[in-house]
């Protein structure tokens, strides 16, 4: 059992103008985003009558963040004040917008009451899935945010909302300065997040009715490439995982690659030995079929471990990227903590416990180090906000949201090739 640290240069992010930064907000403010692929967007703001006065300020501030920091423009701005039930009215608006060509559909900025995202029936999930059924992306803002004096007086609040719109429009705000690999010989790496959630018939039954989930693909710099949504009957889940994994690898890797590193992150209890076996079988078969060399590591992330890591300096915080190698396949990783002169914004930071479930490489300290970097790196690459401190990697962070949204989607959507392609290629879940 010993402690080690990820070197500082691995925590750096690359933003615009070839600049690097430890703090994304400051980085993009000074140097702009890394890559603007879509410089002009359409935005439809949907809100209730009673929130009208705050919405005007909100839109102005978001516009200025998009223009000055993210360097994109709003080509068409549509104001949709609703007087009745927001879910019904938003459905009507979406159906109208669905008549436009795909690249002319607006992104919806939806202002709603705050509700718990733990609630599978929350309006957030219902509205989001209604919009997705029409191939429309959305960014939510709650009225609590608009009524919170501290939050509306901070640029960060509007920058976070603008970031959500920016990435949904296919743009890249930042990526990791250094690539993630498993070993030195690798030519390319894929970091894959898997989230599977069981849907039971009722709370009293132990039997699973079906599974919902996703397999998401990121490149070695942490840039999101695509996601396969999964909706599967119980007896087909392993088959579904195998099929999505194989298609995802085919789609995301470069043609000329011969040696590939695959790091798989998953969290939660619904992936068990059978599913792990299905994953390794797919990778082994892929290796045989293509003649590639694939190095892999399957890592389970435990987010609510009872461990905490303290230091005797900096008020007790340990630096971001510090980890404990327990030398039994377990790693305790400080994804947040102290960074530069700043510490995690609130409270005691919670480290992530990573358990190496399967690998075809020797379990050396360097392999563990590289796996730690995949976890810390993907936590740095979270595009939900501009804050430098994200506890959870992007690979597993959205598991609940994706599952709850998918549980509301009409199952027919998974048979419609256009809708499916949309769900696979857009960052709708962020």
């Amino acid at each position: 059992m010993y402690k080690r640290e990820i070197p500082r240069n691995l925590l750096s992010l690359r933003v615009g103008m070839d600049a690097t930064t430890l703090f994304p907000s400051k980085g993009i403010e000074e140097s702009g985003p890394l890559e603007v692929r879509n410089p002009s967007i359409r935005l439809r703001t949907v809100y209730s009558d009673k929130d009208q006065s705050q919405v005007q300020t909100l839109v102005q501030k978001i516009k200025s963040e998009l223009r000055d920091v993210f360097r994109i423009n709003i080509e068409e701005e549509i104001d949709s004040r609703v007087t009745g039930n927001i879910l019904t009215e938003i459905g009507d608006l979406a159906r109208e917008d669905a008549k436009r060509p795909q690249d002319h559909r607006p992104i919806y900025l939806v202002v709603t009451e705050k509700g718990s995202k733990d609630n599978p029936s929350a309006p957030y999930y219902k509205i989001k899935s209604e919009l997705l059924s029409n191939n429309i992306l959305s960014q939510f803002v709650t009225t609590d945010t608009l009524n919170n004096q501290r939050r509306i007086s901070s640029n960060t609040t509007f920058r976070n909302i603008a970031l959500g719109i920016f990435v949904k429009a296919d743009n890249i705000p930042w990526h990791l300065q250094m690539p993630i690999t498993l070993n030195e010989q690798s030519e390319e790496s894929l970091i894959i997040g898997i989230g599977i959630t069981s849907v039971r018939h009722d709370i009293f039954s132990k039997e699973t009715d079906r599974y919902v989930g996703y397999i998401s693909f990121y490149n070695s710099r942490g840039v999101w490439k695509m996601m396969f949504p999964i909706l599967s009957p119980v007896d087909k889940i392993q088959e579904k995982i195998q099929q999505s994994l194989q298609e995802g690898i085919n789609y995301t890797i470069s043609k000329e690659v011969n040696k590939l590193d695959v790091i798989i992150h998953y969290a939660g209890k619904d992936i068990q030995m059978e599913e792990e076996k299905a994953i390794t079988e797919t990778l082994t078969r892929y290796e045989k079929d293509t003649g590639f060399k694939i190095n892999y590591a399957i890592v389970r992330l435990i987010k609510s471990a009872a461990y905490r890591l303290f230091s005797n300096r900096d008020n007790g915080y340990a630096p971001m990227g510090t980890y404990v190698n327990f030398e039994n396949g377990l790693l305790l990783i400080n994804t947040t903590g102290i960074l530069g002169k700043n510490a995690t914004p609130m409270g005691v930071n919670v480290p992530i416990l990573a358990s190496i479930k399967k690998t075809n490489l020797q379990s050396t300290p360097d392999l563990m180090h590289n796996i730690v970097y995949s976890v810390v790196g993907l936590a740095r690459i979270n595009w939900r906000g501009v804050n430098a401190f994200n506890f959870e990697p992007a690979t597993t962070k959205y598991a609940r949201e994706i599952a709850y949204i998918m549980a509301h989607l009409d199952q027919k959507i998974f048979k419609n090739q256009i809708s499916l392609a949309f769900l696979q290629s857009k960052l709708w879940f962020i």
Partner: protein, 336 residues
């Protein structure tokens, strides 16, 4: 925040070492392999529970130990199985187990639980395979809220590590337990809280028995109300909602979502926030607690002294006496 560079950096876990006394003899255990039929497995589980037997269950072969139930109450077990028609027929092996080993972890976990169970001012609240959760009965809110009580609480685990030397660690994680004090029935019938403030809120649904299946408490979101029942949507993904008597629903610690209710009751929501911030080491007087980890480390130390060193250790398992270290586990630094 400026780092104090005058001292070298040392790292600690929220853990203490559990040490058997030097030259301890190995422990005796019966090992029952896991591959018994359903009837025998059920009987085994029920006898272990009913007789409060000290054991560790290993689901698959690990670190040189074979899968099975490792039973440390050897004499009692010999007596029990003699008179049990089913258990007397199952395979059972006598083993010698090192005092510091993987398969002794949960036996120690349980012995600690038994001793903590005898301490007056704490109660057990959670019992999972590898960890236990206890809380202090004292209400930190001192009756300043009619729907919540706040309690210091902690989770503990026993962990085993083999490298570089074999070690058993006691992990202590302190936190705050927020309990619902009054039911939804009370909120509606006694306090006339309007339905629109309640719909969509999360509640703890107390244990229920439905079609003879006992369901542990779960969190559900209020979707609808009738005179005496609530329709709740479980937080776990399920297809169906559940009908629950109003008296079975209690508020949970999401103070942010309960603000309107607290204000309707004419109580001080900021006070609830302040206490929550302080006891979760997050904020104090509306400001971030800058030394949150140091404060938590102090609380870990307090719980060790107050409870574990005073009431639990030294701990005896057969002829082996275990003691608890005074200092938390510090980590060797290795930079390659």
């Amino acid at each position: 925040m400026l780092a104090d560079v005058s001292q070298s950096m040392t790292f600690y876990l929220n853990a203490y070492e559990i040490r058997p006394e030097k030259q301890s003899r190995p422990l005796d255990a019966f090992r029952i392999p896991p591959d018994n039929d359903v009837q025998a497995r059920r009987r085994l589980a029920s006898i272990l529970r009913e007789n409060n037997i000290t054991f560790h269950r290993l689901s698959s072969d690990y670190l040189g130990y074979k899968a099975g139930y490792y039973i440390y109450d050897v004499e009692r077990w010999s007596q029990i199985i003699k008179s049990d028609e089913i258990l007397s027929k199952i395979e059972c092996y006598k083993e010698h187990i090192e005092a510091t080993s993987y398969v002794v972890r949960n036996a120690i976990l349980k012995l600690i639980e038994d001793k903590l169970g005898r301490v007056n001012d704490i109660r057990k609240i959670k019992n999972s395979i590898d960890e236990r959760k206890f809380y202090f009965l004292n209400d930190l809110l001192k009756d300043n809220s009619s729907i919540f009580t706040y309690h210091r609480c902690f989770v503990y685990r026993v962990e085993y590590f083999a490298i570089p030397t074999k070690k058993l660690l006691l992990l202590i994680l302190p936190s705050l337990l927020i309990k619902g004090k009054k039911s939804l029935e009370w909120l509606i019938k006694e306090k006339n809280v309007p339905t629109e403030l309640l719909l969509g809120l999360p509640f703890k649904v107390e244990q229920e028995i439905n079609q003879e299946i006992r369901t542990p408490a779960y969190v559900g979101f209020l979707e609808d109300l009738t005179d005496n029942t609530a329709i709740v949507r479980p937080a776990d993904l399920t297809l169906k909602t559940v009908e629950v008597p109003l008296k079975n629903l209690y508020a949970i610690g999401r103070i942010d979502l309960y603000r309107k209710i607290v204000e309707f009751l004419g109580e001080n929501c900021d006070l609830l926030y302040d206490y929550k911030g302080e006891f979760t080491f997050t904020w104090e007087k509306r400001k971030k607690i800058e030394n949150a980890p140091s404060r938590m480390k102090e609380e870990v130390e307090n719980i060790r002294k107050e409870l574990f060193s005073k009431n639990v250790f030294p701990l005896k398992l057969q002829s082996v006496t275990y003691t608890l270290s005074d200092d938390p586990v510090s980590l060797e630094s290795r930079e390659e």
